[in-house]
């Protein structure tokens, strides 16, 4: 028996060794295949024509617009008609109803199946007419009158008139869903003057009203939508280039070209959106060639790896998503401007972008994001980047030293901004402590508690993020000043006055200097410190063209086409 046992142990060990070797070899092979470097000399990262090259830098909107328009023209000529394109996403469609949809991916779907009076020129933040053909502004910006394009029809052929526009907007006002404030805060009344004319009467003049009209709550919806309640699963759509022909929640969304779209049929007749539970599966399906486009949101490590693949192309552009640090000026010692300025000066944004996000975010030196008109690098101009010497001087002026350190609590939430958040907090701490005069204690709270604490104004320093509601500097500024959701952390009477004035002036030229001034005041006060701006990254098969990414964060499916 003992002999048998000995034999069994020897055999077991031998087999274990062989198994370990085989598994190790197999694993090594697979990992090496997956991580295989690109073929030398092959361009692996390709940007969409005339788009990213201009947007990734902070070049002017004008040049972007010119190039984009050239690209749009290219799209509409000579490309072969291909039946189907499959897009992979890890996002969700929430309510396919503009009265309650309030997330970017659902807005993307709505923007492809519906259209408002205004829309953005793809690849830019410039507005152009959607279903409207002209407009006039009366009574000092209190009244907007729009003429609709003639012969508009819903995807089933039902004629669309000004009454449909009015019905849809009034529906949003009555349902009072999550995005309803985009209408109710500005519009006092909307009425149809005739079948082609819509009149808006505003409660107060706002110069960005045209930008508001490009948001889904203003999209006309098919009469099939329930008039007084949220119609979450309604697929009748609106006046967009595509119509929904099939939707299995969390599985797939099938869109087909709308035969009645006023702009003509898109090049690709059918778009299928496949919903993935995790980014890794999406990446593998792209590599296996089973999807054409991997859209939001690939993991930073996967993006870095996919960029090296010769048979795929990557398109990048700054998104409208920004991250920032909120310092509550009502709490000591943060009521001292010198302390706040020292923190702003010591911050190391580049380290966060490179080390935590592997270069997939960009350092941000203003609350108004890169690429948007009026953006200036106000914080960089005032404090530089990771300026430890300046921070030390400011701290000394505030009465701190190496022996009498500034002791602060830095709050973050691990349950809202992804797994990287703890690392972001750590790098903020690291940069501040590099002064030798600050001691940071990192604290965290679950998102609900975190928001509650923010409302109550009990966190000295906390990390937050912002997705835009409408593409205008106003959305990145006014919402933060004297804001209840931040516990009134930051208030400045002069700033409020400038922002109010800027929101009323009619032209970009008139508004720009005011927002520039606002950004300077923002940097001077250093109560809310911008950190970085998210990038949008899309990876596709090399033959997919017509990809336009811009700060609106919406992908236009109708511009896709296949090359070759």
């Amino acid at each position: 028996m003992r002999k048998n046992n000995k034999k069994a142990i020897t055999t077991t060990m031998a087999v274990a060794l062989v198994v370990a070797l085989v598994v190790g070899l197999a694993l090594g092979y697979l990992v090496s295949m997956l991580m295989a470097p690109a073929v030398p000399g092959v361009t692996t990262t390709v940007t969409a024509p005339g788009m990213v090259s201009t947007i990734t830098s902070t070049a002017t909107v004008v040049s972007t617009l010119e190039k984009t328009l050239t690209s749009v023209k290219t799209v509409t000529t000579g490309a072969p008609v291909v039946e189907r394109l499959i897009i992979g996403v890890t996002d969700k469609v929430t309510d396919i109803d503009p009265s309650n949809a309030y997330d970017f991916f659902t807005w993307e779907v709505l923007s492809n199946t519906m259209e408002g009076l205004m829309r953005y020129v793809p690849g830019t933040t410039e507005l152009e007419y959607g279903i409207a053909r002209s407009h006039t502004i009366e009574k000092n910006g209190l009244v907007y009158i729009f003429k609709l394009k003639p012969g508009l029809r819903f995807a089933d052929g039902t004629p669309a008139t000004a009454e449909d526009v009015v019905r849809s907007i009034k529906r949003v006002m009555e349902i009072k869903g999550d995005p309803a404030w985009l209408v109710t805060d500005f519009v006092e009344n909307v009425e149809a003057l005739d079948s082609e004319t819509v009149k808006f009467t505003l409660s107060t003049p706002v110069s960005y009203f045209l930008a508001l009209l490009a948001t889904p709550p203003y999209f006309p919806v098919h009469p099939a939508y329930k008039p007084k309640e949220i119609d979450s699963d309604q697929t009748a759509g609106g006046l967009g280039p595509y119509r929904i022909v099939k939707w299995t929640r969390d599985v797939e969304l099938v869109l087909e070209a709308n035969p009645y779209y006023y702009g003509g049929a898109p090049k690709i007749k059918q778009i299928i959106v496949r919903f993935f539970k995790d980014a890794t599966s999406m990446r593998l399906e792209l590599e296996a060639g089973r999807i054409d486009v991997a859209w939001r949101t690939l993991l930073p490590t996967d993006i870095k790896d996919l960029k090296t693949k010769p048979n795929l192309k990557t398109v990048e552009c700054p998104g409208g998503f920004i991250r920032y640090i909120v310092i509550n000026t009502r709490i000591k010692p943060f009521d001292n401007k010198l302390v706040r300025q020292a923190l702003a000066a010591a911050l190391n944004r580049k380290a966060i972008c490179e080390r935590v996000f592997l270069g997939l975010t960009e350092p941000l030196y203003s609350m108004i994001p890169i690429g948007m008109w009026s953006h200036i690098d106000a914080f960089k101009e005032k404090y530089g980047e990771h300026n430890i010497e300046l921070a030390k001087n400011l701290l000394k002026q505030a009465g701190y030293s190496e022996t009498n350190k500034l002791k602060i609590e830095l709050w973050y939430t691990p349950t809202h901004y992804g797994d990287t958040e703890a690392d972001v907090a750590l790098l903020v701490k690291e940069a501040w402590e590099e002064t030798g005069m600050i001691e940071v204690d990192i604290k965290s709270a679950e998102w609900t508690t975190y928001v509650d604490q923010s409302r109550k104004g009990i966190m000295g320093i906390s990390l937050f993020g912002w997705y835009p509601d409408y593409i205008d500097p106003d959305d990145y500024t006014t919402a933060f000043v004297n804001a209840s959701w931040l516990g009134y952390a930051y208030a400045n009477a002069e700033l409020s006055k400038i922002l109010k004035e800027a929101s009323v002036l009619p032209t970009v030229e008139e508004r720009t200097p005011l927002y520039e001034k606002a950004q300077e005041i923002w940097a001077e006060d250093a109560a809310i410190i911008p950190m970085f701006q998210g990038k949008l990254v899309l990876v596709s098969k090399p033959n997919v063209e017509g990809i336009f990414l811009d700060p609106t964060m919406l992908l236009r499916y109708w511009l896709f086409f296949f090359s070759g």
Binding site: A14, A16, D178, K277, V451
Partner: protein, 342 residues
């Protein structure tokens, strides 16, 4: 026979307090957790009226804005579940939770059944073979397999399969339940079964291809315990006198092994019941790895969206299902083994 009936009745009655305790624990946990669910749902920019409205929907305050006492909330919650009302989702159309669950459950059942079959096949065959070849190199290999497979992490092994069969060989899909546009007509919600019923063979092939990698992944991870259990039980049975007698009579090996397996089956059957809970847990990880649209991924997603009523309803649903399965297994066990009685 009378004692069996008493056993069945007692066991069935015991399920009721088990479920009540589970429901109470779920109710308590949802209220003990830090943070305000209302704030989580409406977001930071919500006006106070919207917050009040949602509190009303959640049954936290009455029509006049007064807080409803906890015990009343508990009674409301309890009576709702008895009536089959698991509440309404707080997001996306506020659909009844039970409908959402029933939409996602067939996908999990399909994956679980296939995973279970794979695990049982691997476990039984390897266990019996290992016992038959006791102390050989094959026995050692299978024993090591039993340990390794039990320790495997589903997303890791799943990803290896995805990389090899999906990306390298390109012979099997790496995610999803069926190819776009191939869904069979919905009858049971089980795609394989539905495509057979409707004779939709392209759908059958597509859903089978999608099912292979997830069910093998799940099956392998769960098979280790069956391998070890079968081997142990078989070794015990094979050393008993009636097997020696059978061998002495010159019965073929195959017949002897089959005979031994029947006798070794009781502990395996018990483990099959216990594995069901593990199967559902494993299914959650497998579903996430393979983007399988089942109840596991659904639950994870709703946790992320802080859809409290759906999370509560789904957990209760899981608890009830597991209690019922455990009851059924116990009853079968009692039926097979007459020694099991109260």
């Amino acid at each position: 026979m009378v004692s069996l009936r008493i056993y069945i009745a007692t066991r069935a009655l015991l399920t009721i307090p088990t479920i009540i305790i589970l429901l109470t624990i779920v109710f308590a946990i949802m209220r003990i957790l830090p943070g305000d669910p209302v704030t989580a749902i409406v977001g930071m920019k919500a006006p106070p009226e919207q917050i009040q409205e949602l509190k009303k929907e959640l049954g936290l305050i009455d029509e006049f804005g007064k807080p409803i006492p906890l015990y009343i909330q508990y009674l409301n919650y309890f009576s709702g579940i008895i009536k089959g009302d698991f509440g309404k989702s707080l997001i996306w159309g506020k659909r009844p939770v039970i409908i959402e669950i029933l939409e996602h459950f067939p996908a999990t059942i399909e994956l679980s059944i296939m995973g279970f079959i794979v695990s049982l096949l691997i476990g039984l065959i390897s266990g019996v073979y290992s016992a038959h070849k006791y102390s050989s190199w094959m026995d050692s290999t299978i024993r090591i397999y039993g340990i390794i497979s039990y320790a495997l992490f589903i997303p890791w092994i799943g990803m290896l399969f995805q990389m090899f069969f999906g990306v390298q060989l390109k012979i099997l899909p790496v995610a999803g339940r069926i190819d776009p546009g191939m869904e069979p007509q919905q009858i049971t919600g089980l795609f394989l079964l539905d495509s057979i019923i409707t004779s939709n063979w392209p759908s059958f092939i597509s859903s089978l291809k999608h099912l292979i990698l997830p069910s093998i992944t799940l099956g392998i991870v769960l098979s280790g315990i069956f391998t070890r259990l079968t081997r142990g039980a078989m070794l015990e049975v094979l050393s008993q006198d009636f097997i020696i007698a059978a061998k002495a009579r010159g019965l073929p090996n195959r017949k002897i092994l089959l005979h031994a397996l029947k006798n070794a089956f009781i502990p395996i059957l018990t483990m099959m019941g216990l594995q069901f809970a593990l199967l559902l847990t494993g299914a959650i990880l497998t579903e996430t790895t393979f983007s399988w649209p089942g109840i596991g991924t659904f639950l994870m997603e709703r946790i992320n969206y802080r859809d409290y009523t759906t999370v509560q309803g789904t957990v209760v649903f899981f608890a009830i299902i597991i209690s019922l399965v455990s009851l059924i297994v116990d009853l079968i066990y009692a039926y097979i083994d007459p020694r099991i009685r109260y």
